[in-house]
Symmetry: D2
Subunit: 178 residues, 4 copies
């Protein structure tokens, strides 16, 4: 294990090679977060979508998503990925319960479920997370766009999201009463 | 209908007599809210319980609870009762989804369910609501006390709560992972 | 109280006139049930929709829906309405938890929410209910049709359902992972 | 990879050594199932607990629990572990939604959460599963005992369960309205 200074390779964590090996043998635990703005009564007024460059060089709308590390709490992982993509001032308000609103199963083989990840079998706990602060897209996110629930419900927009994430967006809207 | 100046008797709403009559004939829709303080990761750090004087002159710990009015949204009713009991500066953060964490069925006959209300058959949608601001007990609430989840889990405290609300407190703690 | 020949007018329940009066003054508690067929792993394979004649003489697809009676358990009401519409041999398998998957707020004024009921303000607890037995449409239901999840997801079909029930169907499908 | 005589070592799955290595580096995805008997209205009438011999030779009450395999659906894993522990005639009725009622995070370090697994960091999706058929304890389960919800709520019984599973039992009962 060649230790380089990223969180993923700290003690007890995985090198790129080890992670690649595990990805061929074990389901990998993920979290997906759908950042939302809410009004004073908690009703969702807009949904935040990232603009990312995919592995194939395409530009795609995406949810906040990432792996849960060894010995990391699920809610810590949600916070870490929100901060990574939205910046440190987003002020996310995670739900008090550990229950995700759904579980998305990304299979390496397309068609097993509505979700697909060619790299791995990822099982993702999905949360809707109100954010109250200022969001600044970070790292590999080119942009963050806030859409109304009606705009986010557009089937064309959802169909263009990679890996079936449009389904998760649709399920999140339904969970929030839209 | 003798109109007196309380919200309950505004146009389309119920006089005391009409409400009493309906209470003998229909299930009445209620909301229960368990106010909580959370840390930066959303984990519950304390639970707010009211100290109330019951109809029988006893002092009892209680949840925030009340009726949903005609043509009132459920989440508006939750906000209204939180503000009524905790004051206007409590800054409650209602969940973005309309799904309650459970439904408590208060029967006028004791023993049908774990919940009991001698006045009526009330069906209550229960929500855990993080509050971020300053809470000042209002109206018929004598006091508000913040307990740790461990303190709130005390079976003796829960057994002393009226109408079986201790069960709802217990279920709320379990829902939040305690 | 003069009418005694229906369950709704038994002791402690409402005459038609009394119910009409309450409907103008109180939110009325309802349940909505989406009957489904599931395979051995619990995955939904089809969704049951009723064909009803609406009050305006139109034919419309509909969910199983109805009022909760005074002193009736919510789950008893769900069972009663399922039996009323699907017959006594449907063998519904109600979920073990009292938590509905969502709450639909039908307002008498259109546009307040996505749900509308010109007769009343109804607040409905919605459940997805697997049924294992033989279903025979009863009473005012003309027919029962089993659709695949993909067929039930058709926006045109959903838009034609009365009172916004198509939204509830859509939310039920999303809750079940579709 | 030398062992081929168990499902765990089929193509793409893990040898014991590989699993041990991953267990020190990645959260491992688990499922926990609480088998219940329900009455005709879906109300839980009894809860099934296994009697197991723990790694330390002690006898302990336990839930149905186990790992999710590579490229295995979560609900298939729940079914597989139920069948493994309760036998092939148990007729489990998995819920139609993929949402677990809670997520239990078992940490190798005691005290981080209420759940502890000295072997690994396991994140478990927990489901309450009604079973309708005949249950016969299998393999390393010595016995299956059906307890009433009141018996299963006994704090002493719950405290004796290994790894904090008593907390999960308690949360399952609360979720089911007890």
């Amino acid at each position: 294990m060649t230790q380089i200074d990223t969180p993923q390779t700290a003690a007890g964590w995985l090198s790129r090679e080890e992670l690649d090996a595990s990805r061929e043998r074990l389901p990998i635990l993920y979290v997906d977060a759908i950042p939302v703005r809410v009004d004073g009564s908690g009703t969702v007024t807009s949904v935040g979508l990232l603009l990312r460059v995919t592995g194939h060089g395409q530009i795609s709308r995406a949810l906040v998503s990432g792996r849960v590390n060894y010995q990391e709490r699920v809610r810590t992982a949600v916070l870490r990925h929100l901060e990574k993509d939205l910046g440190p001032l987003a002020l996310p308000r995670l739900p008090p319960a550990p229950q995700p609103f759904t579980v998305a199963e990304y299979f390496p083989t397309p068609g097993v479920t509505a979700f697909h990840d060619p790299r791995q079998h990822a099982v993702s706990l999905a949360f809707v997370v109100p954010v109250e602060g200022d969001c600044e897209p970070q790292q590999d996110a080119l942009d963050l766009r806030w859409l109304s629930p009606a705009e986010a419900a557009d089937p064309t927009l959802q169909a263009e999201m990679a890996g079936g994430q449009g389904n998760l967006l649709r399920q999140a809207l339904a969970y929030c009463g839209f």
